[in-house]
């Protein structure tokens, strides 16, 4: 009975994963969390290899080696700006593994001529979620990598088509669960489930990617849990549930930070509607600062709050922004960074970029915490953010982003906004902030402009 070792290994492994998430709560213990997670994984794999059902090791060793050979360079060579893409891709890989295992197990069940059972139901659910998460994540990856347009892709009858495909997939799933069989029915089910995943994400715009990625994370977790049910494996159920809970909480936080519902993100086609609202905007007067003026303004401030957005990531400006922070530090200016929950393309995106550029993490302040301090802030410097600082979200109930919590830079003593031109941004919503008396626009590429200011501040100092 070698199963006793296996059970023990699985129980300790589950404990390791729970500890891993517990230690993840704070930067000071998080790396310990990774270590204990790795230990849990090692135990789970070694335990499984000891199962007496597992008799041939050659292919397993080859697959483990091949996977590591791809995974190691991927982890070390991936630039930090590509983290959202990598996350989407890893959801696709994970879901693919789960779906394939489901197909094989289901094939065995069909071969044995079994009827409806709890297991056949769980397997069908596992395949459905696994397949749709896999293709949906691939579409999300393609959008993030800009292999396809990041704009929402909408067409007539889209909702109807999606609904029809979904119902057909669920109908086939139910049939297969009742009468497990391979062949054409299974193939049709696989195609429909995969197709539904593609249709699901195609209409969703780039700005909604943080929510979508979190939601796909939750689906991947649920699929792993379903597999645990099918195989009677408690470890898989637990880790799937932990992963699923994580994805759902992150998706909820993202939705709350945009004042929108799941349904609205998934079916809203945001960005398209908003673009219509921007049509009426006539050319209005704005004030602009040159590099020299902007640098001088920052240098003479006591406190500066920098608000980064996706534009900073696009311009790859995070290192220059960090240099600006260093330069202002030598002038005894108090600099902090205000991070909106949905800034960027995935949860926590801005934090990772700024941490990479050597900005200490205590200076990365959450929205709710910084808003109270903004009225006493001399300069709010907005770099590549737009909607998350748009006062219309707070003041104009008719705005497309009404009710979305914002970083209230308009309450600061003065505002500077780095922007390429006055063209409406991604969501295309007119931003009153740019026309306030206290706002100055800094026109140009974010990276070049910030670099110019750094040069002014460091070079212009006597001694």
């Amino acid at each position: 009975m070698n199963h006793l070792h296996v059970q023990a290994a699985y129980i300790i492994s589950a404990a390791c994963f729970i500890l891993s998430l517990m230690w993840m709560s704070h930067p000071s213990t998080a790396r310990r969390g990774v270590l204990v997670g790795e230990l849990g994984m090692l135990l789970a794999i070694v335990g499984t290899l000891m199962l007496k059902e597992v008799v041939s090791y050659e292919l397993i060793a080859a697959a483990l080696l091949l996977g590591s050979a791809i995974g190691v360079p991927m982890a070390y060579l991936m630039p930090m700006t590509a983290i959202p893409q990598r996350t989407a891709l890893s959801h696709a890989f994970g879901a693919l593994a789960v779906a394939l295992i489901g197909v094989v197990e289901f094939g065995k069940l069909a071969h044995a001529g079994a009827g409806f059972s709890f297991v056949s139901g769980a397997l069908v659910f596992e395949m459905l979620l696994g397949l749709l998460t896999c293709t949906a994540s691939l579409v999300a990856f393609a959008k993030l990598q800009e292999l396809m347009p990041t704009r929402p892709i909408l067409f007539k009858g889209q909702t109807l088509l999606n609904l029809a495909v979904f119902l057909a997939a669920v109908g086939l799933a139910a049939t297969l669960a009742m009468h497990p069989q391979g062949g054409l029915w299974l193939a049709a089910f696989i195609v429909l489930a995969a197709l539904f995943g593609i249709l699901l994400v195609t209409p969703i715009g780039g700005a909604d990617m943080p929510t979508v990625i979190a939601l796909l994370n939750a689906y991947a977790g649920l699929a792993a849990s379903a597999m645990g049910f099918a195989l009677g494996n408690q470890l898989l159920i637990i880790t799937g549930a932990l992963d699923g809970a994580s994805g759902f909480i992150l998706a909820l936080i993202m939705c709350k930070a945009m004042n929108r519902s799941f349904a609205n993100v998934m079916f809203g086609g945001f960005g398209q509607v908003a673009a219509i609202g921007a049509q009426g905007g006539e050319a209005r007067h704005v004030r602009a600062f040159s590099v020299e003026e902007a640098a001088m303004h920052l240098e003479h401030a006591n406190s500066v709050v920098i608000v980064p957005g996706y534009g900073m990531a696009v311009a790859q400006a995070q290192h220059k922004v960090s240099e600006l922070y260093q330069a202002l530090l030598t002038k005894s200016v108090d600099v902090r960074f205000a991070i909106h929950p949905v800034a960027g393309r995935m949860p926590g995106h801005m934090n990772v970029l700024l941490a990479e550029a050597n900005v200490p993490y205590e200076l990365l302040v959450e929205m709710d915490e910084i808003n109270g301090d903004l009225p006493n802030t001399d300069v709010a410097l907005v770099i590549g953010a737009n909607d998350v600082v748009n006062p219309a979200a707070r003041d104009d109930p008719a705005s497309a982003i009404a009710g979305m919590p914002i970083i209230e830079v308009d309450r600061a003593r003065s505002v500077m906004v780095i922007k390429r031109s006055m063209n409406p941004g991604f969501a295309g919503i007119e931003n009153e902030l740019y026309h306030l008396d206290k706002t100055h626009m800094l026109f140009g590429d974010a990276k070049a402009f910030v670099a110019g200011m750094v040069k002014e501040i460091t070079g212009g100092s006597p001694g």
Partner: protein, 99 residues
């Protein structure tokens, strides 16, 4: 290992783990949401154990072997790159000189 009857203990385990997960994740600082995502992704790659069982079975069909091989490889890519990249990200989070 598989049983065809319904086992309510499994649902109980799922429910408890989901509640535990909710409590644990809620406490994670928003600072670390990106590494959290890659960590949970790596942990979820424990699905590799299901794939290993398929691939190592004595009477696996050629099709099962091919699919099992792809599944083990995909899950291994995830767990290896997931843990490593999480650690790489966390290494960058440094405390400032002032505190």
């Amino acid at each position: 290992m598989t049983s065809t009857t319904f086992d309510s203990d499994l649902l109980l385990i799922f429910m408890l783990a989901a509640f535990l997960g909710y409590q644990l994740i809620k406490r994670v600082s928003s600072l670390l949401h990106s590494p959290l995502m890659s960590l949970t992704n790596a942990i979820a790659a424990v699905a590799v154990v299901g794939a290993i069982t398929i691939l190592g079975e004595a009477n696996a069909t050629p099709l099962a072997k091919v699919l099992g091989f792809i599944a083990v490889t995909a899950a291994t890519v995830n767990l290896v790159s997931g843990f490593l990249i999480t650690d790489r990200m966390l290494k960058m989070f440094k405390k400032g000189p002032r505190s």
